[in-house]
């Protein structure tokens, strides 16, 4: 007799509902395994996105018992007793069943001003290890978009999507801003048009990150402090006026000249 109830949201743009599936539990399975068994036995038309089954491709993001998680990394034996609810990511428009349209993220990716190094010096670029290490954490991102999904700024307020990059792209902005060879200054852009001020640092992005990137502490708050340097701090503003410095150093500005 089936001992497991999987309560899965089935539907598309026309609407949908939670459907219960009874199935036997098997030792050592993750949620994605059970979804695959359901596809093989009871629901061949159940749509779900997956690829690596190893927590590295970021494809199988969903909400398991209401929390954003990777289906391939969520062990069945670690979930509580009772029906297990699987729903698609809430923040993005539904395509079908557990598959959502995440193109919002690709639009925001296009808006990130690219890495802009100075002209190649003789002998090539040189970076010290301590500078390389700083951005390594941000490179771990697998683009599962669970941080974007859980962020209430767009999850509960659709209208903010127009000008809100979201946690995934804040770590990209932070990585570029901390890059010693980059010459772009994105502080005003990220403050004014990418919605940095909308983030109220409630740290849900950090809580759900499967790569354990300290998104808030190491990317968003440093970006906010940089925005304070560039825009809000009156002493920094006065210092720039007195020294006649632009927000970019002379060396950085010079690097942009042809």
């Amino acid at each position: 007799m089936a001992d497991l109830t999987m309560r899965i949201w089935r539907g598309d743009q026309d609407g949908g509902e939670l459907v219960d599936y009874e199935i036997d539990s098997q030792e050592g399975e993750v949620v994605l395994d059970v979804i695959h068994r359901l596809q093989a036995t009871q629901a061949p038309d159940l749509a779900c996105r997956w690829n690596c089954k190893a927590g590295k491709c970021g494809s199988c993001s969903a909400e398991i018992n209401g929390m954003p998680r990777l289906m391939c990394m969520t062990r069945m034996d670690q979930l509580p007793e009772g029906p297990i609810t699987i729903t698609p990511m809430r923040t993005f428009p539904i395509i079908r069943d557990l598959v959502t349209d995440v193109s919002f993220n690709f639009e925001m990716a296009k808006r990130v001003p690219a890495f802009n190094p100075p002209a190649m010096p003789e002998g090539g670029y040189r970076m010290q290890q301590i500078d390389v290490e700083r951005g390594q954490e941000f490179r771990k991102c697998i683009e599962c978009f669970m941080c974007q999904n859980v962020c209430h700024v767009i999850r509960d307020h659709e209208e903010n999507k127009v000008n809100y990059a979201g946690p995934r792209f804040f770590i990209r902005y932070a990585e570029l801003e901390m890059h010693p060879l980059d010459t772009n200054d994105r502080r005003e852009l990220v403050r004014e048009k990418m919605g940095l001020g909308l983030c109220n640092i409630t740290k849900c992005c950090t809580e759900v990150c499967p790569e354990h990137i300290k998104i808030t502490d190491n990317a968003i708050i440093p970006l906010k402090e940089r925005a304070v340097d560039a825009h809000y701090d009156p002493v920094a503003w006065l210092g720039r006026k007195i020294t006649r410095r632009t927000k970019r150093s002379a060396a950085e500005a010079a690097a942009d000249r042809p």
């Binding site: 539907g11 307020h157 409630t202 440093p222 809000y232």
Partner: protein, 271 residues
């Protein structure tokens, strides 16, 4: 800062979302943490308000030189009546000195990145927990007044350092008898613990981390700032713990000083 405009398209809003239209599907006890936060912060606010407005006696234990952190530096005319000798400023101030002093530590904590998370979640419910629906229909974050003022956190951090120095001086002075000589009591250790935790809370602050070295692009060209940043970064990881410990201990220190000053308990002398 060029963005390639040719590739930018409008974000398409709308479109039906998947999942049932309910506030949350979470089945765990997600409400425990916000409830605890509300209880502890509310208790502190009630106690601090009482201490500031009505607790204008017994904040100084003259026999062992113990001064409550809520009343340090002791300003105003009330200090002389309580026997505090080092009150050089604002002799004309008739009200509780805590009303002047508490603005700065309060501002530091109100604008602190950790406390912002705590009260946005617990009090403002925006959101009360992850993947639980925001309690408000509109949201502008920290982009408008008054919340845009959170950006002056670093100035409260600077003021906070001044108070840390003053409280450290109080802790050192508590080792000195009013008539001369050195002693140690439970009270002196309590003041030391309070000052230490406040230093740890301040040094672990995100603004401190940024100002120490976080703001530079190139660590290899700023080795001293990199060392400072490396020193405060592990502290920063414990900022939440220091925030709670320092908050509770500062209130307990005030309670302790009042209890010994009122004669309710004895400040046990170690030597």
């Amino acid at each position: 800062m060029a963005v390639d405009d040719a590739t930018i398209t409008e974000v398409q809003l709308g479109g039906r979302r998947g999942g049932p239209d309910v506030a949350t599907l979470r089945t765990d006890k997600w409400w425990k943490l916000p409830v605890t936060t509300v209880a502890v912060l509310s208790a502190f606010i009630v106690y601090a308000t009482w201490a500031a407005f009505f607790g204008t006696s017994n904040f100084f234990y003259e026999a062992h030189n113990l001064l409550s952190p809520f009343y340090s530096p002791c300003l105003g005319s009330i200090c002389k009546t309580q026997g505090v000798t080092s009150s050089p400023f604002l002799g004309w101030w008739q009200l509780s000195p805590a009303l002047i002093i508490l603005v700065f530590p309060l501002g530091f904590r109100m604008t602190c990145y950790y406390y912002r998370k705590a009260y946005y979640r617990s009090f403002w419910r925006s959101p009360v927990a992850c993947a639980v629906q925001d309690a408000h229909s509109t949201y502008s974050g920290e982009t408008r007044a008054p919340l845009i003022l959170q950006n002056i956190h670093r100035y409260f951090f600077y003021f906070g350092l001044v108070f840390n120095v003053l409280l450290t001086i109080d802790a050192v002075q508590a080792f000195i008898w009013p008539g001369g000589g050195v002693h140690m009591s439970v009270g002196t250790l309590v003041l030391c613990l309070n000052a230490s935790l406040l230093w740890l809370y301040s040094l672990s602050c995100h603004a401190c981390r940024h100002l120490c070295g976080g703001q530079v692009r190139n660590f290899s060209k700023h080795p001293i700032r990199h060392k400072l940043w490396k020193f405060v970064t592990p502290l920063n990881a414990k900022h939440m713990q220091f925030a709670w410990m320092s908050l509770i201990v500062v209130a307990m220190t005030d309670v302790y000083v009042r209890l010994v000053a009122s004669g309710t308990i004895t400040d046990f002398k170690i030597f």
